[in-house]
Symmetry: C3
């Protein structure tokens, strides 16, 4: 049985396989979907609401012919209120479904769930912990857009202290050759020391920089993140931080022609709408890629011999 | 790409086609449904809850073989809280689904959504704006029940100031020949001047009347609406207005034998239960028609050549 | 048309048939599900949240090829707020779905719903009233685990005053031969007099006992229930009651080798995790059986001639 708990569980070879599978899934989705997971049921168990992530997983399951049982807000509605442990909830729900997608507010929840589940568990975010499918779709998007993840220079911009995606992505990028990272953040939310320590150990070159304009000129990927209002002591301080780094036409004009702008979304003003029409604005394509990555993961966790054969056949069709 | 944003977008010829398609859909539903939209996904994106409307759309989609991703209360749960614009939400969700059904509390939301969506958008109510599928099912029900919408006399009764359905229906009826409308409302919620102006421009005969008993004797359609408690300054005033027009056995006894009673539902006392068993009580059949109209609209927005061919074939079978 | 409103509507012969059907359903589920209810729609109408029960019904419907429209919290979201009666809601929703699963906080709600519904209604719990599918899965589990429900000694332990499942199960057990019941509860939540009166009328032997250790040695079934915090005047009193009867390794050591432990779940400390690995801990298998019982009931309410034929064929395959 195969669980998806952390982006770190994938080595570079597995990432390559996954991204190839995601490409096959894109082809599948564009051609009317598949019956690969016909008869299978996915439980979307969201202890905190995230309509976007839930929809992405549910869409992925349905594109493969599967069905979905779903709760928008398990914390409010479920047996949790009656004092039931996560472990008991998972034991029961794993007898209703063939796979569980779990979103939870506590770090480590998905790992605890996997220990007792009778079916595969996919981590759809565990508090300040991990959100592996987001990291995987980020990497997949870079590869699709630029052709390779080796030899790139990426800037990560915004709230680098609390931004879970930024940490995961930094760790994952160390698997690739000759990656350079520029961290650009307001003073009160820098990249944590432990991430820098890790990158140094791995021999990844990184810089902490202040001027987005200069950085924009030299990078292949500009990875923007939202400044999270709820982190700041006052509205005034939030606005100062939030307004500091904004991608507008000026920034765009400085960027390389082949470079791309990514964002895990939702955004809240840090990328102006005037940027959306530029072909380098890749953030909506990035969201779309999330469905293909999740289709690939679902097929991987739930697929059987028939699934493998179908994947192989499709791979040949696509050439 | 075809959006359904307003009832007004349909001319009389298109309405005829739609109602014919809805009849085919009724036949389809009664015979085990169809695979017309097999492999398609509808997103039900409800920023305010409306279980009834949501269920009607979801049922319509499923009767045609499609699948559904759904949120009961997007305003509370979604990225909207994090400051995301409706436009961004729609851009992302339109990469998860093949069609979006949008319920929103702001006038014009569906039109804004359609501008950025990569897939068709159906307006399922935008605040005080429009609720086109309700108007379409109202008209379809009149045609089914009476055989024609031309040459009818219809009374609209209840809260005519705030009742969105009454305004839309008035506008739509001007497309038909020789329609007469009697508006019957408590003094504090009359039909707005702008609706009257429109009807005068279009040459539609209308009356403002006070006595439901007299009106009941002469109309072909009695369209009741709920007095909305939340509109009134005090509970006492509400009760005075709410109690003024009630359909009971007395009113029924005065009505023509071929006449029908409609109501967009939910009702709250303005039609007594004793009326339900009378064959002229058409309001539950009206709700059922909502599924057929929505099946027709979904097929129209999502169908392809195969769908057209199947519709044509079914049309011949039905004679 | 067949409704499931009360466990009492099933006589012993019907229970035997139902349990046979549930076994066939278990076989079906283990072999990729069925298309028996293809094209059918179930409405899960939950006026109070119960993720577990809802998931179990939805999973059952999907395992049989059916589709689901669902609301997690109809009381908060639906037309009920606008003053609509349950009867009107049911009339409308029964035109959207082929079957309604109703959870409601008022006793008798399911029976009221069945009176006006155009489609079968299954009671998924009506307040302090009944929860028939829970009782049926309890009985089914005993039969599966022990081979028979006749000649058993069962202990019911915990909150016996408010525990709805314990009352229903007591009534249902009177249908079987030579059943003995031991009631074990804290002083402030004993089994009600009316249940005892009923058992006396039916000639069922029962005891009220105090010492779980002694009882554990002699029973075939230990049916634990949760002490419900909200019932007690103070936290201290709750803890006293809650802590009084706990199944741990000591209790387990005293139990017969063939005996089983059941629990309707969720639990909140009255069975220690150390018990879970023992083969006599049957409560998670019991939850799984809920899906098979619900599949059987759905097939019974919605199935046609083809369904009957398929059931018969499967029955032969299974021997």
């Amino acid at each position: 049985m195969y669980h998806v708990l952390s982006a770190h569980q994938f080595d570079r070879n597995q990432l390559n396989q996954l991204f190839r599978m995601a490409e096959i899934m894109e082809y599948t989705a564009a051609n009317g979907g598949s019956n690969l997971l016909n008869g299978k049921i996915m439980a979307a168990l969201f202890f905190e609401p995230s309509t976007r992530t839930r929809f992405s997983f549910e869409s992925a399951m349905m594109r493969l012919g599967g069905k979905v049982i779903s709760t928008e807000n398990a914390a409010q509605f479920s047996s949790a209120i009656k004092g039931e442990t996560l472990e008991d909830s998972i034991r029961v729900i794993s007898s209703y479904a063939d796979l569980i997608v779990l979103r939870h507010n506590e770090v480590g929840a998905a790992t605890r769930a996997a220990k007792v589940s009778a079916v595969p568990v996919i981590n759809a975010g565990d508090g300040a912990g991990e959100h592996p499918t987001q990291s995987l779709l980020d990497l997949f998007t870079i590869q699709k857009e630029l052709g390779s993840i080796d030899n790139i220079h990426i800037a990560m911009v915004g709230d680098l202290t609390y931004g879970r995606t930024v940490h995961s992505l930094s760790y994952m990028l160390s698997r690739y050759e000759n990656v350079t990272i520029s961290f650009v953040s307001p003073e009160n939310c820098p990249i944590p020391q432990k991430v820098k320590d890790f990158l140094e150990e791995q021999g990844v070159t990184y810089y902490e920089e202040d001027d987005l304009q200069t950085v924009a000129e030299k990078v292949d990927v500009l990875y923007m993140t939202r400044i999270q209002k709820e982190r700041f002591p006052s509205g005034e301080e939030y606005l100062k931080a939030a307004g500091k780094y904004v991608i507008d036409q000026n920034v765009l004009d400085r960027m390389k022609q082949h470079a791309i702008i990514l964002h895990p979304l939702p955004r809240a003003g840090e990328i102006l709408p005037e940027v959306d029409e530029d072909p380098r604005a890749a953030y909506f394509r990035q969201a779309t890629n999330g469905v293909y990555i999740r289709m690939a993961l679902l097929a991987y966790c739930l697929g059987d011999k028939r699934a493998e054969a179908e994947m192989e056949a499709l791979s040949k069709v696509m050439g």
